[in-house]
């Protein structure tokens, strides 16, 4: 509503600039002919001044005066011949123009091309506002800003990395996982996810870097399925058929058939053993499928996905207590999402949960200081 009042005011003021002179009807300004005479008279004075300053000599000044006087006479005669101008009835019509055209034209045109419903969206305000209902890009930008200011925040990178994956930014995801590993130490899931991000970035190809990541993951947890899946895939891609077949067999051996990766692995194996024509079923790992799923998601769904990740953690911790490290992770996540109140609430909950464990309380106190939650 304010917008329309403002527009009405602007239109009104603008219309006034046309209507005021029409109402006044002054006759102050000089006529064209009279203005000519004034200029010539001023020129005559100028010649006198030039003569005084010695810029022209007497003969030149006289010649100039003669010329100007001739023009002055002509202008004077012309002026007498012209009758005085009279106001015409056109004023009424002219007054109608701004009175009608301005509001109707401006408003009509604006309604056609303008976007009166769209509010301003300055970046700072968007980053400061309540994270609820914000599109996922805004949330990511918030975390990115936070990390640009605190690049040593390993938890932040850890939260951000899977979001990058789901947004279809595997290169950024790989970088984020690498940072998380550098700051939080290596673990099987981090190394595997790093490798996966690199594979997706290389459009399904298991590159040397990705392989190194998966190999480190297997060292950390020889039983983990994901790195072994990709290492088997790598062998296939390198053309080491027999090694690949035995790797797939070892992976599928004793695996729970309900795991989502099992059909893909079986298919790979079938293909390598020549039971499927290669052209019919191109190899595709779960990574490619994930990306497709993420790409198919709408923006709102993606935002929901991040929030549900954090909410899921919260619900689980509130239900079964969890470890103090998990609580700290939740608080961190809430901080980087910009939801300070939720972080404070989580901190209070964690204190209740670990009220009987002084070492855990120490960890929480540390987290409070680190995250600037202390009063």
């Amino acid at each position: 509503m304010t917008l329309w009042i403002l527009f009405a005011l602007m239109t009104g003021l603008t219309a006034l600039t046309v209507l005021m002179p029409l109402r006044r009807g002054s006759a102050s300004a000089s006529d064209a002919g009279a203005a000519d005479e004034a200029v010539y008279k001023a020129q005559l004075e100028e010649v006198d001044r030039d003569l005084q300053r010695g810029l022209v000599d007497a003969a030149q000044a006289e010649a100039a005066r003669t010329e100007i006087a001739r023009r002055l006479l002509a202008a004077h005669k012309q002026n007498q011949r012209n009758g005085k101008s009279a106001a015409t009835g056109a004023v009424k019509w002219a007054a109608l123009l701004p009175a009608l055209l301005l509001p109707a034209g401006a408003l009509g045109l604006y309604l056609w091309i303008g976007s009166p419903d769209l509010p301003d969206q300055p970046l700072e305000a968007r980053l400061q506002s309540n994270p609820e209902g914000q599109p996922v890009e805004v949330l990511v930008a918030r975390v990115e800003r936070h990390l640009a200011a605190n690049p040593q925040d390993g938890q932040g990178w850890e939260v951000l990395a899977p979001v990058y994956m789901s947004l279809g930014r595997p290169q950024d995801a790989a970088q984020a996982y690498a940072n998380a590993i550098r700051l939080n130490g290596a673990s099987e899931p981090r190394q595997s996810s790093l490798g996966e991000a690199l594979v997706v970035a290389a459009e399904g190809l298991v590159t040397a870097d990705a392989r190194a990541a998966f190999e480190r993951a297997v060292q950390l947890d020889p039983a983990a399925a994901k790195p072994r899946f990709f290492l088997a895939l790598a062998l296939g891609q390198e053309g080491k058929r027999d090694e690949a077949i035995s790797a797939w067999k070892r992976l599928l051996d004793g695996a729970n058939p309900n795991e989502i990766w099992v059909p893909a692995a079986q298919q790979e194996l079938a293909q390598l053993e020549g039971r499927l024509p290669p052209s019919l079923q191109p190899p595709r790992g779960p990574a490619a499928a994930d990306v497709e799923a993420a790409a198919a998601m709408s923006e709102a769904e993606r935002g929901e996905m991040i929030r549900s990740m954090v909410d899921g953690l919260k619900t689980r911790l509130e239900a079964d207590g969890g470890s103090v490290e998990e609580w700290v992770r939740l608080i961190r996540a809430q901080i980087v999402m910009g939801d300070k109140d939720a972080a404070k609430a989580s901190l209070a909950k964690a204190r209740e949960t670990f009220a009987a464990e002084p070492p855990a309380l120490d960890v929480l106190r540390q987290a409070e200081t680190d995250n600037g939650l202390g009063s």
Binding site: T11, R71, L97, G114
Partner: protein, 661 residues
């Protein structure tokens, strides 16, 4: 709400401009004073509305409001403040808005400072300004609206073209537009004179300062653009006869002619009809320049977006205004009274000569710029018309003009004495000859044209000084009285002197930098030393550096002269990740008027890097000269005396007076 207010202000301005186009002109034609009186307040309101709109767009850039398409396309939250501001006009939509802002600013200035202009003239002039404003606002709203929105605002923008993230380019477009658009005032005065069928005595008094003001800005704008190309593009060239450059150079040439013919008109009431034609011609060239640059007909850093619809739109505006005004001229010009008479050898005659050569030169540039376009449009054949064409056409036209510059101001009005003028130039000629001989003696036959060029440049400079001194009659009346006369001279005399002197300075820079530059392209490794015009440059290595919105590889060179370390140079290559675009940042060292110029080329794997180094003697004179010219123009504008050209009285009745036109 802020953004939409700006949008509404722009729409309102368009409708108001339509009213401005009709009401005051109607009043002038029907002699209705009240209708005429709307012109000034409406012109001011137009300025306020467009300024509001522009301020809002600037706010959107500063606040990184990416819900505005234009901001999203051309800004980035990490961009330094100055480039957030200059980004407003570093794109098609914003630059057109700036164009209109300057247009209405000039309209408002005319409204504020034209109390003594006859009412019909004033109303018609502002009405014609209203036509131009309405046409361009329609163009903006229909095809290039900077206030288009995105409902789902992205979180980061696409950044400004890195080549445009530069101080020079922050200033260049506004200056150039002030020049282009300034000529719209002289155009409006010319069209008003044609509509009203009379040229008032106040007409010339009004046209000359506006022409001068526009010319000063255009001069500075072109110089700025040229200096930018010199240091930013990394080739060390300062003028390429590129169609985009020509687009700004043509109005400058025509504007220079207009400036001179307006002097004749103000002082002598001669050349009236010709001045009106020149005013139309100059603004037409400004419009043509806008069309060439903005339509995407030419590919260059200026063609922000290639959009045939826009090109067509500007072409239609172009045809209406140019075609319309020339038709009006053909129809109404015979009504205008012819001016006074003068002999062929006289100040007026000299200025006609000036106009003749400048117009011919403009046409030669026009042909060189448009012919390739026309040929491509008709036959599809691509040819490029470059320096050789212009050296053969533009050059020969300039030489007689430059030779004649010192004579002009020395000739008397109405009937001059060439012999007397020549006598007063003996000293200047002597100095020029000495300079030419000195160059010949120092460099010999290696550069045949250099001594001639230097001699010509010194001739113009010495001639300008000689003219000023001869006005003081210092040789006749002694030093002290001469000096007091010098102080008493009108400021316009100093303006003329500086304007002409500046031409000489620029010419000297052009000749020296072209004839005697040293160039070196080689691959260097850290520790390598090479010699450049008496300076020893040692390359010490290359290192990465992080900027606010770019990363760069900075090379480091130590400059020694005679063993002593005198300076360091850090040329760099930047990458702007938002657009993935590289730029070259040359390092320039200035010694006196000369410059040492180093830019980086390809980096090799083994730490070696290609380096391009130049020594350009006296090159800064090219731009200092334009600065001198502009200062001359400004001094002349501040002299608000009425200009009266006192004719030389006829001793005996001399035969052979020719009509003015």
């Amino acid at each position: 709400m802020i953004v939409e207010t700006g949008h509404f202000a722009l729409v309102l301005a368009f409708v108001l401009a339509l009213i401005q186009s009709v009401v005051p002109v109607w009043g002038a034609v029907t002699s209705d004073r009240r209708l005429m009186e709307t012109a000034a307040p409406v012109a001011n309101a137009l300025f306020v509305l467009v300024a509001l709109s522009f301020a809002v767009l600037t706010w959107a850039y500063l606040a990184s409001d990416f819900s505005v398409v234009n901001v999203w396309e051309n800004s980035h939250s990490a961009k330094p403040l100055i480039f957030k501001i200059s980004g407003v006009w570093g794109n098609h939509e914003g630059s057109m808005l700036l164009w209109v802002l300057i247009l209405v600013l000039f309209g408002s200035l005319v409204a504020l400072f034209s109390g003594n202009v006859p009412a019909p003239l004033r109303a018609t002039v502002l009405g014609v300004q209203g036509w131009i404003t309405a046409a361009f606002l329609l163009f903006i709203l229909a095809t290039s609206n900077p206030f288009e929105r995105i409902p789902q605002a992205p979180i980061e923008g696409n950044d400004l073209n890195p080549l445009l993230q530069d101080i020079g380019l922050a200033i260049h477009p506004p200056l150039l537009y002030l020049g282009y658009v300034g000529f719209s005032i002289t155009f409006a005065f010319a069209v008003a004179a044609l509509i009203l069928g009379r040229i008032d005595a106040a007409w010339a008094r009004w046209v000359r300062p506006w022409a001068l003001l526009a010319w000063v800005f255009l001069t500075l704008g072109i110089a700025m653009g040229s200096y930018w190309a010199y240091y930013e593009l990394g080739w060390g060239g300062w003028w390429f006869w590129d169609p985009v450059e020509n687009a700004s150079f043509m109005p400058w040439l025509a504007g220079t002619a207009l400036l001179h013919s307006a002097i004749v008109m103000e002082k002598r009431e001669a050349l009236k009809v010709w001045t009106v034609l020149l005013a139309i011609f100059t603004f037409s060239l400004s419009l043509l320049g806008t069309f060439l640059v903005r339509s995407g007909v030419l590919t260059s850093v200026h063609a922000f977006a290639v959009d045939p619809e826009r090109g067509l739109f500007i072409l239609v505006i172009l045809c209406i205004f140019i075609g319309g005004s020339f038709t009006l001229y053909a129809w109404r010009a015979p009504l205008l009274k012819q001016g006074g008479l003068f002999a062929p050898i006289s100040r007026e005659g000299a200025l006609v000569l000036n106009n003749l050569f400048l117009t011919a030169a403009t046409v030669s540039v026009l042909v060189g710029t448009l012919y390739p376009l026309a040929l491509e449009a008709v036959t599809g054949e691509k040819i490029s018309v470059g320096a050789p064409f212009f050296n053969l056409t533009f050059g020969p036209l300039m030489i007689p003009l430059l030779l004649a510059i010192p004579f002009g101001p020395l000739l008397a009005w109405k009937r001059g004495d060439l012999l007397a003028a020549t006598q007063r130039l003996y000293a200047a000629f002597g100095v020029a000859l000495l300079a030419a001989l000195a160059v010949f003696w120092a460099w010999g036959m290696r550069q045949v044209l250099a001594p001639i060029g230097v001699g010509l440049a010194v001739w113009i400079m010495a001639g300008a000084v000689a003219e000023l001194l001869s006005r003081t009659r210092i040789t006749e009346i002694g030093l002290s009285r001469g000096l007091s006369r010098l102080v008493g001279l009108p400021r316009s005399a100093f303006g003329t002197m500086l304007g002409h002197f500046g031409v000489g300075v620029t010419l000297l820079g052009i000749v020296m930098a072209t004839a005697f530059q040293t160039e070196l392209v080689r691959t260097v490794r850290p520790g390598d030393t090479f010699d450049m015009a008496g300076y020893q440059l040692t390359f010490t290595g290359i290192a990465p550096r992080q900027g606010p919105n770019y990363t760069e590889q900075v090379g480091h060179l130590v400059v020694r002269q005679g063993g002593a370390e005198i300076a360091a140079m850090d040329p760099s290559k930047r990458i702007y990740p938002a657009r993935g675009m590289p730029t070259t940042e040359a390092s320039i060292l200035t010694f006196g008027f000369s410059q040492l110029y180093v830019s980086l080329g390809e980096t090799r794997d083994d730490g070696a890097v290609d380096i391009r180094a130049y020594f350009k003697p006296m090159i800064t004179l090219i731009w200092l000269g334009t600065l001198v010219m502009s200062i001359g123009g400004i001094i002349s504008i501040t002299d608000r005396r009425l200009r009266v050209g006192a004719p030389k009285p006829a001793r005996a009745k001399t035969a052979g007076l020719s009509p003015a036109e």
